[in-house]
Amino acid sequence: MFRTLLARNSLGASARSVLRAPVPVTGAAVPRFVGNPVAQPARRAYHPKVIDHYTNPRNVGSLDKNLENVGTGLVGAPACGDVMKLQIQVNDDTGVIENVKFKTFGCGSAIASSSYMTELVRGKTLDVASQIKNTEIAKELSLPPVKLHCSMLAEDAIKAAIKDYRSKRKSTVLK
């Protein structure tokens, strides 16, 4: 199945329009997605969860990196040329991540990994968020071994964002 995912590049525009086709999503997996009722054509190259995060990435955008309570993580995968920026806005009193945005310039798996990561960390405390492992993302999105590094990039990005926030607000961060 993922062979097709990787070969998508060579399929060009037609494949891309397939990707944009409405995709049924199981409610349990991605609760916030309001599914399109139109049935999915028989052809399906991606794992549904990857398609969903890829076609409807959550929390895309930027936060003001100059704000005191915003931590920015900027990481890259120099082997494949991907760049990922993940930003968190933290409640200084509770240590809870109240807002999160990302921008990823990379392949579909990297976009899906970072999108899913933003969903995971929203509402969590920094301590809990920093414990999230890439394997959790890879498992949820069923990433094939060659795309594991995309989920590692997302783990690195949240860790970098937390580190940046903590270095900004050393005195007020909760234990």
Binding site: L6, G76, A79, C80, G81, D82, K103, F105, C107, I111
Partner: protein
């Protein structure tokens, strides 16, 4: 795909040795006469390609093709030279990361250009970005020539990592369409 390419790279003859007319000294060289290489490649394929010669071995034809692609594309050529001459495999996540860490500003610069590109809506503006990026890549390719000439592998590796990012951007620019989200394919 990548794995296949890597496997090819380890075949007994170097990619340079497969084109003896272009690389008379039979050793590696950063500078490549691309026109001569293309001519030699076509002449060799005329002998080897299964469509031309029913008796030929198709693996030879695809080996030639991989060697040609490796030499033709500056990024692949630089990666190949670093791997064979300095034992540095930049397609390896770990290795490339260690090298990239030496230039923390690079990611900022790359993100900056990607965000610029993302905000554009006219083809004219995109052409400007494309041209600037081409110029940036040309400068890196020239500097790479100097680094390779001095066998300065660390410097060459650093430049190749940077070239990796700009090559991705180059592809994104070529695939740009108004309103379409950017995606990098590799």
């Amino acid at each position: 795909m990548l794995r296949i390419v890597c496997k090819r790279l380890y075949s007994s003859r170097s990619v340079f040795q497969q084109f003896p007319r272009t690389f008379r000294s039979r050793i590696w060289s950063w500078n490549v006469d691309l026109r001569g290489l293309r001519k030699e490649y076509r002449d060799l394929q005329a002998l080897e390609h299964p469509d031309m010669n029913a008796n030929s071995d198709s693996s030879r034809s695809s080996e030639l093709n991989h060697a040609y692609q490796t030499l033709k594309q500056p990024l692949l050529r630089a990666q190949y030279i670093l791997e064979t001459q300095a034992g540095l495999d930049l397609r390896n996540e770990q290795t490339s990361r260690e090298i990239a860490q030496q230039d923390p500003e690079l990611l900022m610069r790359v993100l900056d250009v990607h965000e610029q590109l993302e905000s554009l809506s006219s083809e004219q503006d995109v052409k400007v970005i494309a041209r600037e990026n081409r110029e940036r890549m040309n400068v890196i390719e020239q500097t790479l020539g100097e680094a390779f000439a001095q066998h300065d592998w660390d410097r060459a590796a650093q430049l190749t990592v940077e070239l990796r990012y700009w090559t991705s951007l180059d592809r994104a620019v070529k695939e740009w369409e108004p309103g379409k989200r950017l995606e990098l394919n590799h």
